[in-house]
């Protein structure tokens, strides 16, 4: 082959190859998703209306295949009891799976504590779940990229790729992650990603009898829940970590961490 022919052929091959290559770029799924930046999921919790029934916890465990008996949960409810003589008690037995039917406070190996109802200054419930942070520390530390944030703002775990090092569990300031007793990899709240994609509510929102939990698209200013976040005074958990949580709270007390 002459040099001239060789160069000619080379140019043809390069030109020919660049056509399918540019076609590949056109169907990049990321670009298609980026064309629809109108959805960003957020959560609103009204601590005033939560009564600690634990329906959300039960619904979540059933919906997301987390064994009911396992002492871990994607969402949980905490009980805060402050006495008039300024003692503070917090508990969340079984992640509040069975609700708060026992007035005693569960202090782990320190036993159960009886509180005189006359002495209670204030008491309230705080439901918690993954905050789906804008700058999540959990995805940052994953050594294999098995946990990631979707473009619509939900942090997910790839159960089949995760090596189970537990770094993400340690990195989460909210203890939203745990080792799933069946899959043996970290598991966490996904805002019921499989449901909200189909236009359904999350299992916990569905189960809450008092509308203490609400899901919204924070990019949609016409969404009534988004409006509350925009106009009302809402708080977030542990903002000192710079994680920019997307779960907002009405009536958040400073003692809640």
């Amino acid at each position: 082959m002459k040099r001239r022919d060789f160069l000619k052929n080379s140019i043809m091959v390069i030109a020919g190859a660049s056509v399918p290559l540019s076609a590949l770029q056109m169907v990049d799924p990321k670009e298609i998703l980026a064309q629809n930046p109108d959805i960003h999921w957020a959560f609103l919790i009204d601590t005033h209306t939560c009564v600690g029934c634990g329906f959300c916890v039960k619904a979540c465990k059933i919906e997301n295949d987390v064994p009911l008996e396992a002492n871990v949960s994607r969402t949980w409810v905490e009980r805060y009891v402050f006495t008039k003589d300024d003692r503070r008690y917090i508990d969340s037995p079984n992640a509040a799976l069975h609700g708060y039917t026992d007035p005693r406070i569960d202090q782990g190996i320190a036993g159960m504590v009886d509180i005189d109802p006359e002495n209670v200054g204030k008491a309230f419930f705080v439901p918690k779940l993954c905050n789906q942070c804008l700058t999540p520390p959990c995805t940052q530390v994953c050594p294999v990229g098995a946990t990631y944030k979707t473009d619509d703002g939900v942090v997910l775990v790839d159960k089949k790729w995760c090596i189970g090092c537990g770094y993400c569990v340690m990195a989460c300031p909210y203890a939203a992650r745990f080792f799933h007793p069946v899959t043996h990899v970290p598991d966490k709240c996904t805002f019921c990603y499989h449901r909200i994609h189909q236009g359904l509510e999350t299992a916990c929102v569905n189960a809450c009898p008092f509308e203490a939990r609400k899901l919204c698209n924070i990019r949609d200013v016409n969404d009534p829940v988004t409006r509350i976040i925009m106009t009302d005074r809402v708080g977030i958990l542990k903002d000192e970590f710079g994680t920019r949580p997307q779960a907002f709270y009405i009536g958040l007390a400073t003692e809640v961490r």
Partner: protein, 444 residues
């Protein structure tokens, strides 16, 4: 059975007191204590050997070769605790396939392999002459047994075909060793400083998060590495002395074997200078560790409420008495007191190793001794009798497995690369090499 199936990871060894969040357990347990302890030993052993190779501290010559071989024996063991810790160990190689570089762990494979290749190539340059001599000795033999044939071929492979042992060639080897050792120091520090970074960068954990963490880790790594090398060096020397006294093995037949007095002298010289370096690094390590605690106590940010309780009350015994008292101050006094003997140094080294282990323990377990809610505590109970695979790998026996492996490996490696060579580079196995073979490498 139902209960067993749904025991959550961490539940078997965690006790919760007061308010601990439902998903909180001691997830990083004994193997994560072993991981920085073992990598620390690797890095420390290498730094000690580099003191001779790079800075030319002549009196460390013998202990330097020893610690280099030892760091090779420790090398695979640095990875073991991590694999034993993973809940999906078979997927461990994913770290190499899709490294996610914003994670401090992602670079582990790369740093580890870089460091490993430096150690292996440095050892090759140090031992090339020995391999060549072994090959020549075995070749000179007329009637070789099949085992000797195997050894011959194995050593031939080890030489990689570089059979030149002229003065110039050996000088080049020496130079290469020096360069490799010089590159190795920062890499060893990186390997370990980065283990410190893994902890120091976890912003969720109030105890771990400090930029001092990597530096503290490097310092204590060097301390533990030197202590272990002194300890093992003395133990092997004692075994040799014992054998020399009884005229066991080669001492019985070989007139060139070192005498009891020679061994004694070499031992004292090496140990004395190595333990001085141990003292310097110990001062650095303890200063930084105490500085960290003082700084936290003085600034009293929000987390101090619970950290103060953990440091001053809950972990008082394991931190102040076991780590600083028995593990640092006591051996320090033992070593600076006049009339230091080898025996006293050895006891001090054992205490130092214990102290560094306790430091890792207090960081890893202590960092999980309190809840993220700052309203409760977690107690860690080391599983002793394994109930299942999980309590084995994250229990006492898993940790012991990690602790014993380097010594087994060292024994094996020592067969191929004998640690104790005399000045001419002739090891015990080639003690009776024919004169002709030594003079000319071309003999066949």
């Amino acid at each position: 059975m139902m209960d067993m199936a749904y025991t959550v990871h961490g539940e078997a060894w965690t006790l919760k007191e007061l308010f601990v969040l439902p998903n909180e357990y001691v997830y990083w347990s004994i193997q994560i204590v072993m991981y920085p302890f073992m990598t620390g030993l690797v890095a420390g052993a290498f730094v000690l050997s580099s003191l001779y190779h790079v800075f030319g501290i002549k009196r460390l010559k013998e202990i330097a070769r020893f610690s280099l071989v030892f760091s090779l024996a420790l090398l695979p063991v640095a990875m073991m605790p991590l694999l034993l810790h993973l809940s999906q160990p078979l997927r461990g190689f994913h770290v190499m396939m899709t490294p996610h570089f914003t994670s401090a762990i992602a670079a582990f494979g790369i740093v580890f392999l870089t460091y490993g290749s430096i150690v292996v190539s440095e050892l090759w340059f140090v031992y090339r002459k020995h391999f060549v001599l072994t090959v020549m000795e075995l070749k000179a033999k007329r009637d070789r047994t099949s085992l000797e044939n195997l050894r011959l071929n194995f050593n031939k492979i080890l030489t990689l075909g570089a059979m030149d042992i002229s003065e110039e060639a050996l000088e080049k080897d020496h130079k290469a060793t020096k360069y490799l050792a010089a590159i190795g120091i920062p890499v060893a520090c990186f390997l370990h400083g980065y283990a410190g970074f893994i902890f120091g960068s976890v912003k969720a954990n109030a105890l771990w998060m400090t930029p001092l963490m990597p530096v503290i880790f490097i310092m204590s790594a060097v301390v533990s590495g030197i202590a272990l090398c002194i300890l093992c060096y003395v133990v092997t020397q004692e075994i040799r002395k014992f054998m020399a006294k009884r005229k066991m093995s080669r001492w019985g037949k070989d007139p060139k074997a070192p005498s009891l007095e020679q061994l004694q002298g070499a031992e004292q010289g090496g140990v004395a200078i190595a333990s001085n370096y141990l003292l310097y690094f110990m001062i650095g390590a303890v200063t930084l560790e105490v500085l960290d605690i003082i700084f936290r106590g003085y600034t009293q940010v929000k987390s101090w409420d619970i950290l103060g309780t953990v440091i001053m009350e809950r972990k008082f015994v394991s931190l102040w008495i076991m780590q600083f008292g028995i593990g640092n101050i006591l051996p320090f006094i033992m070593m600076v007191m006049p009339g230091r003997t080898v025996r006293r140094t050895v006891i001090a080294c054992i205490l130092v190793l214990f102290g560094v282990f306790m430091m890792r323990w207090n960081i890893v377990i202590g960092g999980q001794a309190f809840s993220l809610s700052f309203a409760g505590f977690m107690h860690y109970q080391l599983p002793i009798i394994p109930q299942d695979w999980e309590t084995f790998r994250e229990g006492l026996f898993g940790a012991l497995l990690v602790a014993i492996t380097p010594f087994v490996l060292f024994w094996g490696i020592n067969k191929v690369m004998p640690v104790f060579l005399d000045d001419k580079g002739i090891p015990s196995s080639v003690g009776s090499v024919p004169n002709g073979a030594k003079a000319s490498p071309a003999v066949d």
